[in-house]
Amino acid sequence: MEILAGLFHGFAVALEPANLFWCFVGVLLGTVVGILPGLGPPATIAMLLPLTFNMNPAGAIIMLAGIYYGAKYGGSTTSILMNVPGESASVVTCLDGYQMAKKGRAGPALGIAAIASFVAGTVGVLGLMLVAPPIAKFALSFSSPEYFALMSLGLALVVLLAGRSIVKALLAALVGLWIASVGTDLFSSTSRFTFGRMELLSGIDFVVVAIGVFALAEVMVNMEAREETQLLPVPKGLKNLLPTMQDLKDCRFAFLNGSVIGFLVGALPGGGSTIASFLSYGLEKAVSPRREQFGTGVIEGVAAPEGANNSETGGALVPLLTLGIPGSGTTAILLAALVLWGFKPGPLFIPEHPALFWGLVASMYIGNVMLLILNLPLVPLFAQVLRMPVYVLYPLILGVSMVGVYSVSGSLFDLLLLLAFGLLGYLMRKLDYPSAPLILGLALGAGMERALRQSLMMSEGKLSILVARPISAVMLSLAVLVLLIPMFGKLNAWRLRALEQD
């Protein structure tokens, strides 16, 4: 089978000492970049590009790819320890990961994040290796109606994030949609909700809102109490610093869920790791026997999104390497890098440069193993961060938040936005508005509106296009079903009450 031959050939390339070295450098750098909020793989890769001119292309692409998927491993660290999302895809990890840390289970949370990332990352590479061409074709068949249905399904998951008040959750999600609309409308170039500020013309950065609403608000809430009673509990003993066998068993479905959803969503040019992790989290919550506990520190709630954002890298490489179509910011730079070295990703890339492709694939297997070995022992070390006295930790979190935001665009205006959203996040906490729906609305809002308008433009105004196409019809029906789940719950309760009264 030519796949085996290719893989064999690839390992021969990937196991060369020089390439192993570059792989290690890449994943190490990626992990560090991922840990730091704000700074992301696109900027790092762009800055390293000139240095790669004198390297051999195989080593160079192995290193850059290592940064790409390595960053996804590191992103969960600050999410779990500090409620500061390391990058946009790690936002979902904050939901249960930080709650686990507050309960003294930071170690298992970090550990399961690493393990899930390894499992799903490997599955993602497997997918890239085995089913890239048919997946690429499937991805091409996705058009605006399907994207709209996908986003709607994602947004419908808000009801699963609702907590106790559906009305407040819906309001939070809608405000998220509003924040997503700030900026210049793509289709008509109209400025919307910019309040006369030119900095708002390109919209409000997701990372700024997420760090404000999660991290800053959390610090403010913790500052309320005068006494330092909330020294975050760190359990003693190695046994409690890693996931237990029971934890691993609980996450069986999460591993599968994250791997598959991440890979599929990553393969869509209009997809992304944020959507992938939200969908995976939502699905996990929907099928889990302890779904009401999600949001309070359930380990599957960490495993699923972390897996999803890792297999997404494998998925995103599918359209890049088989069609030459970049899906996200990082893949766009990888494309630029490949072009710079004289390779042109496209349908002819794999047949014409098998050594490069298979070498890359093989190195991704190796890289994932390296990352697991690198990250797991670091878990106890990172968990010790929580041992710091709170008067050191909280200013640290504030500083990291500010540096993270500033590193995204270098603009003081973004810091002002951070302050504003921090205040908003705090008010939401005090008034019992859940913040996850706000983030969800923000993440999906722009894409959803674009997909809807594109669909209506394609169908010349006929809404029926959304249900005429099979895939989008199925996903929209699922979305409606999801929205009705709480209804079923209430109907059932009402019915039981009625029966009791007889």
Binding site: V167, L171, S188, R192
Partner: protein, 154 residues
């Protein structure tokens, strides 16, 4: 609807959100709703604006119906501490332009440790200097991540 989260704040947040909804609707009215080529810039905002208005009215109404007898009294002390922290942060951001990140952050840390947590001044100063130096060394020197610079050049 059975909601376990009624607070007196519901009334005010509901009113504020209703005002937001109204504002969004009015703004959306100034943009094109449906153009010759498809939905315009006002299409989506109008719909979520209406939804925000409707839901917030629902919130206010359901709050008024059940009365605000329940709910914790606002602990103004706690609120005060949290908001003072926010204020300290805002001041430190305002100081970035003249003083740069390192100094402003050191001041912020000092305030938090000394004032909020009432640690001895020496501890506060030490923490402040150590943290700020740490940030400078790790971010500016080691990683090359730009930190806001003031007139003093760092």
């Amino acid at each position: 609807m059975e909601d376990g989260t009624r607070k007196s704040g519901d009334l005010w947040s509901g009113v504020a959100l209703a005002a937001l909804g109204l504002y969004i609707i009015i703004q959306a009215g100034q943009w094109e709703y449906l153009g010759p080529e498809g939905p315009g810039a006002g299409f989506f905002p109008l719909w979520y604006g209406v939804a925000i208005l409707a839901l917030s009215v629902l919130l206010v109404v359901s709050h008024l119906k059940r009365g605000s007898a329940r709910g914790d009294a606002t602990d103004w002390n706690k609120l005060g501490r949290a908001l003072s922290t926010w204020l300290a942060l805002a001041v430190s951001v305002a100081l970035f332009k003249p003083l740069g990140f390192v100094i402003s952050f050191a001041l912020l840390t000092y305030c938090i440790v000394a004032v909020m947590y009432r640690r001895p001044l020496a501890t506060a100063a030490l923490t402040a200097v150590a943290s700020a130096a740490g940030f400078y060394l790790v971010f500016d020197r080691a990683l090359g991540v730009p930190l806001p610079v003031g007139v003093l050049g760092f």
